[in-house]
C-alpha cells in the first residue's frame, strides 16, 4: 500500500478486511472529516507530523523488524535492565511472535468462552458479532470530535473487541498481551469494550518494556461501555520508542451504578497526548482515573483525565502523577465538568509533579466547570523537587544517594503501581530504578 492517505487507501483497507458496506461508509466519512478538521490548537507541537509520509496500513509482515540486529541498542539495554525474557524481547521488538504464551492463552480463552465472554480481534468482532458491534461502535467517541478521531475512523486496524454478558465476572485480567492476533501493535488500534448489566472485567494492554515500532504515529481510539451495575477497569502501560507520536483518544460511558476506572501509565514515545475520559451518564455511576507520566530526554508527556458528570449522585476521583527529568516535559491537562442537572456530585482531583533536575519542565492545565450548586468538588496540584530532608533521612539509614532517590520516586508513583497486576508492578519498579541511574542532576 502506498504512503499517504487517499480515498483509494481507505477503500483498500476496508476491502482487505472484507468489511460490510456500512463500515466502508463509516471509514470514508472519517476520511472526509479528517481532511476538514484542523490540527489541535493546544498542546505540544505536532508540525513535524507529515501525514503524506505515513503508511496507513501495515501488513504484519511489513511491520516486523527482520532481525534482532536491527533493534536499537537502547531498547536492548532496557530489556536487559528489566529482565524481560528473550522470547518476549523479540516479540516486543517486532522480530517475532511470543509463541510460548499460546498454550496459556488457549486455555484461558476456553474458560472465557464457556461464560459467553467475547475477547477477540476488533475485525473478528465486526465479522462474528455484527449486530452487537454496530450497536456500540462509534457511539462513545464520534469521528467528528477532532482530527485524530477522524483519522482513526478512516484507517483503524487492530485492537480488541470485548463483550462480557450480564452478571458475568471475569476474574483474571484480559490481557491484550496474550491475544495472539498479529494486529496487536497496530498504528491505528480501535478497541471496543462492552460490559453488560452487572458484569465486571479488567482489561490490560501494553507493557512497561519499550515497544519498538518503525511507524512514527500511534493514534488509537478506545471506547468502553459499562451498562447498569457493571464494573470495568482498563489498564494501559505504554512505553513506545522515542520516535513515536502517541495521540490516543479514550472514553468510557458509565450507566446507572456502573464503575469505570482508567489506570494509565505513560513512559515512552516522543510526544503523548492522552486524556482518558469517563462520562457518568446515569445516577450512581463512579469514575476513577489514575494517570502517571514519566518524561525524559526531550519527551513531552501531555496526559491527564476528563470526567463529565451528567447525572446526580455520581462521584469521581482523578489522581495524576508525573516525573520529569533530563529535558522532559510533563503536562497535566484535565477537565472536570458537572452538568446543570447533576446534583449531589462528589469529585476529587489531585495532580502532583516531581521534577528531578533543572532542565525539565512541568505544567498543569486543569479546568473545573461546575453548573450545579449541590456539589462537593476539589482540585489540588503541586510541583516539587526531591525533598532533601527525606533524602537525608533515607541516606542516614545506610542507602546510597541513588537508592534513596529511587525509593522516594517509587513511593511517589505508588498509587499507580498498587493498581497494577503484580508482573507489571515489578517491571515498573525496575524501570524506575534503571531510569534513576544517572538521572539526578
Amino acid at each position: 500500500m502506498n504512503r499517504g492517505l487517499t480515498r483509494d487507501v481507505v477503500i483498500a483497507i476496508s476491502e482487505t478486511k472484507q468489511e460490510p458496506a456500512w463500515m466502508m461508509e463509516f471509514r470514508l466519512q472519517g476520511l472526509e472529516l479528517f481532511e476538514k478538521l484542523p490540527m489541535p490548537t493546544f498542546g505540544p507541537d505536532l508540525s513535524e507530523l507529515k501525514f503524506d509520509d505515513l503508511l496507513y496500513y501495515l501488513n504484519p509482515v511489513d511491520r516486523a523488524v527482520s532481525s534482532w540486529d536491527q533493534v536499537p541498542s537502547e531498547i536492548k539495554t532496557t530489556f536487559e535492565q528489566l529482565g524481560v525474557p528473550q522470547a518476549e524481547r523479540q516479540y516486543l521488538a517486532g522480530v517475532g511472535a511470543q509463541y510460548e504464551s499460546e498454550i496459556v492463552y488457549k486455555r484461558l480463552h476456553e474458560q472465557w468462552a464457556s461464560k459467553g465472554v467475547v475477547f477477540a480481534d476488533i475485525s473478528d468482532g465486526l465479522k462474528d458479532y455484527p449486530e452487537l458491534f454496530r450497536r456500540y461502535f462509534g457511539t462513545v467517541i464520534q469521528s467528528s470530535e477532532h482530527k485524530f478521531s477522524a483519522l482513526n475512523s478512516a484507517v483503524w486496524s487492530g485492537g480488541s473487541f470485548v463483550y462480557v454478558p450480564p452478571g458475568v465476572h471475569v476474574d483474571m485480567p484480559l490481557q491484550a498481551y496474550f491475544r495472539m492476533n498479529t494486529d496487536r501493535l497496530g498504528q491505528f488500534e480501535r478497541t471496543l469494550i462492552i460490559a453488560d448489566e452487572g458484569a465486571s472485567v479488567h482489561y490490560v494492554e501494553g507493557c512497561s518494556a519499550p515497544v519498538y515500532s518503525a511507524a512514527s504515529l500511534h493514534s488509537a481510539v478506545v471506547e468502553v461501555v459499562a451498562l447498569a451495575n457493571a464494573t470495568v477497569r482498563y489498564t494501559t502501560i505504554q512505553n513506545w520508542a522515542p520516535n513515536v507520536y502517541n495521540l490516543v483518544t479514550k472514553r468510557a460511558i458509565a450507566m446507572r451504578n456502573a464503575t469505570v476506572a482508567w489506570v494509565d501509565g505513560n513512559f515512552g514515545s516522543k510526544v503523548t497526548m492522552k486524556y482518558p475520559g469517563i462520562v457518568l451518564k446515569e445516577p450512581g455511576a463512579k469514575a476513577e482515573i489514575i494517570s502517571i507520566a514519566r518524561a525524559h530526554e526531550g519527551q513531552i508527556q501531555d496526559a491527564g483525565g476528563k470526567v463529565i458528570h451528567l447525572a446526580p449522585h455520581t462521584s469521581s476521583t482523578i489522581i495524576s502523577k508525573s516525573i520529569s527529568a533530563r529535558t522532559g516535559s510533563a503536562i497535566y491537562r484535565g477537565l472536570l465538568k458537572v452538568a446543570p442537572g447533576a446534583h449531589d456530585v462528589v469529585s476529587r482531583v489531585r495532580c502532583d509533579a516531581l521534577m528531578l533536575d533543572s532542565t525539565c519542565h512541568a505544567d498543569a492545565y486543569p479546568t473545573v466547570d461546575i453548573a450545579n450548586e449541590s456539589v462537593d468538588v476539589g482540585h489540588e496540584a503541586s510541583v516539587n523537587c526531591l525533598d532533601e530532608v527525606q533524602l537525608f533521612y533515607v541516606m542516614s539509614r545506610g542507602l546510597s544517594a541513588t537508592a534513596a532517590q529511587t525509593m522516594i520516586v517509587t513511593g511517589f508513583i505508588a498509587p499507580l503501581v498498587d493498581a497494577l497486576p503484580m508482573e507489571y508492578a515489578v517491571e515498573i519498579n525496575r524501570l524506575i530504578a534503571a531510569e534513576m541511574e544517572g538521572s539526578i542532576g
Partner: protein
Amino acid sequence: MDKKTLDPMLAHTLIQSVATASVEKISSPFVVSRLHSNHIEPHSGENKTITIEDLPAGHHRWDIPESASLTLTFLLNHPHSVTIDLYLTGPHAHVDVAGLVLTDTGTPTLTINQYHLAPDTTSKVLIKGILAGATRAQLRGLVTITDAAIRSTASHYHKVLLLDPSARCTAIPSFAVHHHQVRCNHGAAVGKLAIDQLAYLQSRGIPEPHARHLMTLGFAQEVTERATPEQQAIWHEKIALLTKGA
C-alpha cells in the same frame, strides 16, 4: 470619595490603600488614593499593603522588585473582566493576594497571572467566590516560574461557594514550571453551604436565613479580615444582599 457614583468600567483610577496596624510596622507605610493601580507599586526593599474596595474592570499590573513586598486585598463586585499580572522581578520579592468575588449576574472573568522572574521569590493568591443568581463566573490563574526563579514558592487557590442552582463557575488554575528547585501548589474547590453546619446553627436557635448568612460571612472571612473595619462593614453588607437574593 463616593464610590457609589462611579461606573466600575471607568473607575480604574480609584484605588484605596490602607494603613493597617500591621502596615505601620513596615519601613514605608503607604497611604494613597486616586492613583492608577499600575502606579501603586512597591520600590525595592519596600512593603505595601493595598485594599481595593471594588476592583475595576480591565488590565492591572504590579511589578514587585528586589526584596519588596505587596499585600493586595480586593473585592470584585461587577460582571466584567479583570486581569491582574504580578511580576516578581527581583530576588526575594513577595506578593500576597486575597480577593473576594461577589456576583449574581453576568459572566465575570478574573484572571491572575504570577510571573516569577527572579530567585527566592514567593507569591500567594487566594480567591474566594460567592456566586448567586444566574451568574457564570470564570476564575483563571497561571503561575509561571522561569528557570531563573530558583528556590521560589508559589500558590494559587480558588474556593467557590455556589448559592443558587443556576449559578455556574469555571475554575482554571494552571502552572508552568521551568526549574525543579521550587514549590508550587494550586487548587480549586467548589461547593455549597454544608448542611450539617447549617443544621447545627439552626439547632442552636438561629433561623435558617441568618445561619446561611453567618456561614457565608465565615467563608469570606479569610479575605474580609484583611480589610479595615469600615471596609469590612461595606463588604458584609454586599454579602448580605447576595445571600438575601439567593
